[in-house]
Symmetry: C2
Subunit: 453 residues, 2 copies
């Protein structure tokens, strides 16, 4: 009898708490959709600041803008965390042409890959095509020596998970220059890692290796890559290009951090964020303006709701995700050294599209917790609650906080590689309502983690 009574009590309280959760989450969504600041904040970041590559003046302005914005929202603490970042600049010269055997000269759309050396004036050589990096690795060096290597591997449009298709092509961008240089090539031109066939080249990170010569590396638009490939299927061709991009000594930069102090366990932190830096083309709207704004809006809404978290809620605008991840690495070490306990981290770095759910980089038990939230999210049409990837910026956390669950926000991925690292990644490519729904989903997850951990 006593036991039954206790059971009824517990059960009632469970129902009551679920009802509270449901009302609380509904209120988060209402604020995001009716009185949200996310779209206007993203407009300011994209239009008043613009693209913001680590070490650039725009990145510095973005840091100032972010700090002011966080202060205007009245968080308990707002501060900068100093880091060292690489400093590379595209320069002012960036042009390329195909020269056919018949003497035709065809201008192409290209972008230097991030970190590439320049060409030191016009560079001209015969261009030779490979579909895969593996094909290049197998070839006789005599065939490549003195030429420009063209790596023309298209993203596999049949992959439903577009990030997998991207991952499949990553080696041509990341490793192409080293592999081509090993064989004596004078430069490497890759097909942009983008899904549509269009005029926009997509830049991104690449690396060199001290044991081989650093050669210039650039990405062609998919349309130009197809065109060049057609030309090469008929005859030999030359490629001419000039780029005066170059690297400078490392620069001082900052992560931007805002907090609501925990009311019970202020030393236990829930970290959530995206990266403030972007590539230097377009406006970094989806990558990752949307991600930082998602997280800023999430904590702003909790603040507006006068929510008193148990744990400290901390939004981090990480700097330098795109070419070094110094923000993420520095943050993890700093937090550990301060004696903090990081109990969960969330990253949004897959664009501002319609939310599908969350992936977890964590244990089976943590997955059970995430999946127990599915009922809270089903009215909002979220259905992905599974193991997967957290994010680049929060990745270093689980090296120093063993066992911390890392959550990656999962929006629909179908349009992401239309814009990723391309001039087309501008404010107008982000839909207001899709952005707002992402903010609310992340705010709701922060709340659910805070009350359940």
């Amino acid at each position: 009898m006593k036991i039954l009574f206790l059971f009824i009590l517990l059960n009632t309280s469970l129902v009551f708490s679920q009802l509270n959760d449901s009302v609380f989450i509904r209120t988060i969504y209402n604020e995001a959709l009716s009185r949200g600041k996310s779209h206007e904040d993203l407009r300011e970041l994209c239009k008043d600041i613009g693209a913001r590559l680590s070490g650039s003046s725009e990145a510095e302005m973005a840091i100032q803008w972010s700090k002011s914005k966080m202060e205007s929202y009245g968080f308990d603490k707002v501060y900068l965390q100093e880091i060292k970042v690489p400093h590379w600049e595209r320069g002012t010269k960036e042009s390329g042409w195909i020269k056919t055997k018949q003497g035709e000269i065809l201008k192409v759309n290209l972008l230097a890959l991030g970190g590439s050396v320049g060409t030191d004036g016009l560079l001209e050589a015969e261009i030779i095509e490979f579909k895969h990096l593996d094909d290049l690795k197998k070839v006789d060096p005599l065939l490549v020596k003195g030429k420009i290597v063209f790596l023309n591997q298209p993203m596999d449009e049949k992959q439903i998970a577009t990030f997998k298709a991207y991952g499949g092509c990553y080696p041509i961008r990341g490793d192409g220059a080293v592999e081509a240089s090993k064989l004596g090539a004078v430069a490497v031109i890759i097909r942009s890692l983008g899904l549509p066939i269009d005029i926009h080249p997509h830049t991104g990170s690449m690396h060199y290796n001290d044991s081989v010569k650093k050669i210039p590396a650039a990405a062609l638009s998919t349309l130009d890559a197809n065109h060049l490939s057609e030309i090469l299927s008929i005859n030999k061709a030359f490629f001419v290009f000039e780029m005066d991009c170059r690297s400078f000594p490392d620069a001082v930069s900052y992560n931007v951090i805002g907090e609501i102090t925990g009311s019970v366990k202020s030393n236990e932190i829930i970290t959530f964020g995206g990266h403030l830096d972007s590539w230097d083309t377009g406006e970094g709207a989806h990558d990752d303006g949307a991600g930082v704004i998602h997280c800023l809006e999430a904590i702003r809404i909790l603040k507006v709701m006068k929510y008193k978290p148990k744990h400290t809620l901390r939004v981090v605008f990480f700097m330098n995700e795109e070419n070094g991840n110094m923000g993420g690495k520095t943050y993890a070490t700093w937090s550990k050294e301060k004696g903090e306990i990081q109990i969960a981290a969330i990253e949004s770095d897959r664009g501002g599209f319609s939310p599908k759910g969350f992936e977890l980089d964590g244990t089976d038990e943590q997955l059970k917790l995430l999946q127990s939230f599915e009922k809270n999210f089903s009215p909002y049409e979220l259905s992905v609650f599974e193991k997967g990837y957290g994010g680049v910026d929060i990745g270093p956390l689980n090296k120093v906080f063993i066992g911390i669950p890392l959550f990656g926000f999962v929006p629909d991925s179908q349009r992401y590689f239309d814009f990723h690292h391309a001039p087309s990644d501008v404010f107008e490519s982000v839909n207001k309502r899709e952005l707002e729904l992402g903010c609310a989903a992340i705010g709701s997850l922060i709340y659910l983690l805070d009350i359940n951990l």
Copy 2:
């Protein structure tokens, strides 16, 4: 022992058939994503034809284009089905202004509602605002007599299911003119049924009632509606507008039909389609160019795969969904009179966005069948398999084929009311990959229904 053996056999054949389904569906997706015709077909429909309101020359051209296109894909039968449709034209004059008490004159963006009478020259009167149709119904007629009624109910942006938010506002467009006229108003101006605050007015159907005077009806852009409301919150204002839209006698038009004849039960039909007509603004890209192209591409892919269906697969490009549904009504009656058996119908009329799944207007048993397909669709990230709505065009089928399951294709709905019935519903607003994924999802459902029914 015998029983066990039989069980193993059955089980093996089950696994084998699931494997076949999985390979078959993968092949449908590969064709749609790698060699698909949907994007180019939609471009032709939107750019070479354009908007195509029932009874217009553009609708006639769209019928010719559709028939030629189906013939070019080599279906077993392609034919037209004659129907009668209303014929209304927007005319050439369509302008409106707010006149403030202070004498300011402010141009607005407006569109006549479909079927509205014209203004017979400039119409000017004081304008009076109501937030809901119910508020208008309750008001003293003396307050409204001789004035222009402004129905300014915003779509509820807090609704996650945007079609519900649309449904909530539908009465101001559908019934506004009748209710305002009952009280002696001289015209009705509604806030557009659109979610963003922007410059695009959204047209759509409305009706009159023979017992009250037909008064002109138009939709203001949401931006102008907000502006007008602000002005009216301070002082009285006048509204001036001119529209020379008018109705003509009913016109002859056609549904366009293409078939692959069933190899076993050719008299049993699986019907799938969308509507070829659109409103006369924009290009009818999402509404419902995407829907007809989804279904055309689905059957094209099955044809290319040399699939021999058990039942007859029939794609129907319905005419006149927007203002009368004569295509849907005529088709259902015609099929019944021919002695056909309609065993299932699918409609795509919710835009060309990323697929989420299918809704069923049908029985619990039919829902079980639909939900048994969930495993086939999970690699393609579809997660909605529930009861709901089929579509306007296929709706009449279950009046004459009692018990037929009606399936509505469900894409993500978040962006739909940015474009619906507005000048912004153009080809460029449809994402190629999202469109292709919809074609593959519908093709796969047709296949699964054909082998399971």
